[in-house]
Symmetry: C4
Subunit: 286 residues, 4 copies
């Protein structure tokens, strides 16, 4: 194999990589949009398939549509494996695992009919929508919200710890007060009730029947009603700050080595692994 052949194959793989993994070329954008549409179709098929009346009438049509989508996803997965400079890194990345999980149940269902049930895992592929949103005009909005949430992460951890402790204490108290005869059959179930109450969801599948239980429940409700002010205040104050300081832009490129996203507009090397973010073809052009 002489140098020119090797180089041409590299160029071909490099081109495919750019289309599939990057989104700053017209072809890359078109690929991403086509992908998200096929994911939506795939999810819609699984949804329709779960409805009894649909399943009865359009069994055959749904079966064909399902295998078409599975075929497309399989081709895409293979293309990603071929074009990625380090396929193993892609396979172990979050999206790589999701992409594989979206394929497996269809093939498994040939041997074990029950596996078709797991095809609902395909819904996870919808997370790719955020990659599409990051292109174009939603980029800044996503960055402002993410940066505000990132800034408030530690405060929210403290808040969630307080919620967890409170919910365990309330659940334990209700287990003792109401007891199994009113449906509070175990502490974990009472904690589930405490979460339903504190978050103001209030299904009503479990509700206090004794006066003391209703008193504890009333305190839990008022606490939950008032405590919502804490995360709201945290995110509000962070968003006000984020508005003031957020001006950096990010380029829609994934690192070919470690699959890290969110590189700043002037970044030439991955901030995670130091690999070059400029693909070979781009380098040739420059």
């Amino acid at each position: 194999m002489d140098h020119s052949v090797r180089s041409s194959r590299a160029a071909w793989r490099d081109k495919l990589y750019q289309i599939i993994f990057e989104a700053n070329t017209p072809a890359g954008k078109r690929f991403d949009i086509a992908l998200i549409i096929s994911i939506m179709i795939g999810v819609a098929i699984v949804m329709l398939d779960s409805m009894q009346e649909m399943q009865k009438e359009y069994r055959r049509a749904l079966w064909i549509a399902e295998w078409c989508v599975t075929g497309l996803f399989t081709l895409e997965y293979l293309a990603r494996l071929i074009s990625a400079p380090r396929p193993w890194v892609y396979v172990r990345s979050l999206y790589g695992v999701i992409d594989l999980l979206a394929l497996l149940p269809a093939f498994l269902s040939i041997f074990f009919p029950g596996a078709a049930y797991l095809m609902t895992v395909r819904a996870l592929r919808l997370l790719r929508i955020f990659r599409i949103l990051k292109l174009g005009r939603y980029l800044v909005e996503i960055q402002v919200i993410s940066s505000a949430l990132r800034q408030s992460r530690q405060k929210i951890t403290v808040f969630l710890t307080a919620v967890a402790v409170l919910v365990i204490i309330l659940g334990s108290a209700m287990y003792v007060i109401e007891g199994p005869e009113h449906g509070f059959s175990s502490i974990p179930k009472s904690i589930y009730w405490a979460i339903v109450t504190l978050t103001t969801v209030g299904y009503g599948d479990l509700s206090p029947a004794t006066p003391w239980g209703q008193l504890i429940a009333s305190i839990a409700m008022i606490l939950g009603y008032g405590m919502i002010a804490v995360p709201t205040g945290i995110v509000s104050s962070e968003l006000i700050r984020a508005h003031a300081v957020h001006h950096t832009l990010i380029q829609p490129v994934v690192c070919g080595e470690c699959m890290l996203e969110g590189h700043e507009i002037d970044a030439q090397y991955c901030r995670g692994c130091g690999a070059s973010l400029v693909s070979e073809t781009q380098r040739m052009i420059q």
Copy 2:
């Protein structure tokens, strides 16, 4: 037909246009207030008519009242058609369609008794209340809120996309975990449950029965409880900014050509179609 007759008819139509479509003359304001009162009466009649006990006792009175309101609305619709410089544009505008939809069921019910049922569509005419509120002292308030919501539109789109993806993933998970035997009979129904839970509504018509389902539900509830902080934070920060920058005023005039509203106080031409916003009579006075 000589020039003076044509001009006088134009003046008469112009006058009618000013009263019906504009609100910056005393007659225009009186018309708008009379209109909103008759819309409220119309909606009240449809409401009373839907109540069994009322329907039995006051059947005749309700029937008469209904036709009086329908008559008034028909006259108003005809007056709008006659006075509008381009009637077709009005007919196809949002308010034009609603005005027609509020009339049709009454006339259709003569031939098809079931159509009376659709008279509830009349409730949509209540949207005209916002036109009335824009007159007088609520104008600035509406503008501040609208401008804050407009500024946060993209961030809210990102938030709603996240909610949609989350709700589909949660719904799919619960369909697999709880299954049809606990009421989660299809993925769309499970998604409905996920929305009921994430928004902290919690009807309780569907609630998890298995420990794993209760765990997923608990996570969904805490997510929903915490996520409310995001839109709240977005709107809060935008309102704080809107307060600082909002000082422009808007005149209560609708463009006669394309029915666009919300023209700035010094605008002489429609920003949508370039038509003059100064009606002929006004021009004559100036």
Copy 3:
């Protein structure tokens, strides 16, 4: 009757007035605290009386306690009538009406036993707590919150109008879609459902059973979940502003002529009716 007698009687009434209606003397503060405690006792008695088991066992004790409180309230009412410079103005003021309503059912129940039921109206007297809170260290807090709410009144009116229109449209839609066979028996009842859903309360006494109804309900829930951001944002931004500008203090005096409250610290005359806020004894001292 010579001048000195008349003047001494005036001084006595003036003194009583100061104790009962004002709160800037030690005696006035003690009276207010004693009053609020007796109101709480009165409300507690009505509560205990409504509980079957209590009513059975402590019937006689509750009856005596009720008449003691009624006696105290009657004396207080008479004292207010005597000491107020213009009794009729007090009788027609909000607190005057509530004070009378808290007495009437007890006396009426002598002739009509059913009137005892209305004694629950006594709970309204708890509103006097806010008068007590205005004394001492909660004064500034109440003023900051009230001023923020007052500033956001118009924006909240616009918001509530939007909620009202939305709730009527959603209720009408659900009445047509779900219909009486699923419990949506009339438009008012459907509007009640829409309020239950939009405010994320979600009792579950009425819940959509058809797929289209569940779709409309899902939209209503997400709207309600997101719309909460509007009043929250309004009040947040006003509170931030209120913090910056609020520094004026208010004296705890009620106008003897028109019962208006909330006079600024240096006010010598009522801003509502122009009457002097300095009582005769105070004037004598000065």
Copy 4:
């Protein structure tokens, strides 16, 4: 006993004190982390024990695990008693009471089997998590949130008073309107309903059945939906201010005399009782 023996014993107790009560040494941090893990295990055991199926299968294993944790907690309690300079102050402090309450039910259950039920009180020990969080990187976050909540304490008291008054008035009204025949059997129960409604929890165990009841409920729901804006606004505005002013740091030391926490970084003496915060060993080193 000569001086050197006495001094060496003091040093040994001082060392133990530092490990158990303080957290600014490596040994102190390790002790706190080990403690929190054993508390979590203890809570998990009580939880598992409350589940019927677990109780049946792993009765013996759970019994052994329970006594191991109880043994550890007993040793820890004794160590705290020995090392604390004033044991009685520790015993009466909040954590001292909780630590004892977590032990008692296990020992009581030897004589009264029913006492095992009260072992759920052990969940209160989870509050120690906040002591662990105060170490390391969560310290500032906890301080910002606590300081914002402390600043808004009085405003929240006013808000809670308004909620309490509103809930009593609404509950009393519903008791009269709906009455015992629709489940509103007493005023306290109606107040419980009012809390369930105002906080937008909405179990649905009690819901209005009459048109007037549904009207009052609708008003209560919209009030509850809107009122949430008040605490949210209060905490938001305080957090924005707290961000601006909060820069002081606090050292993770508990006063050995009065068990007060939260001493500023340069504090040498307890702000509560004036005792020295520098332990003897530290003093020796300096």
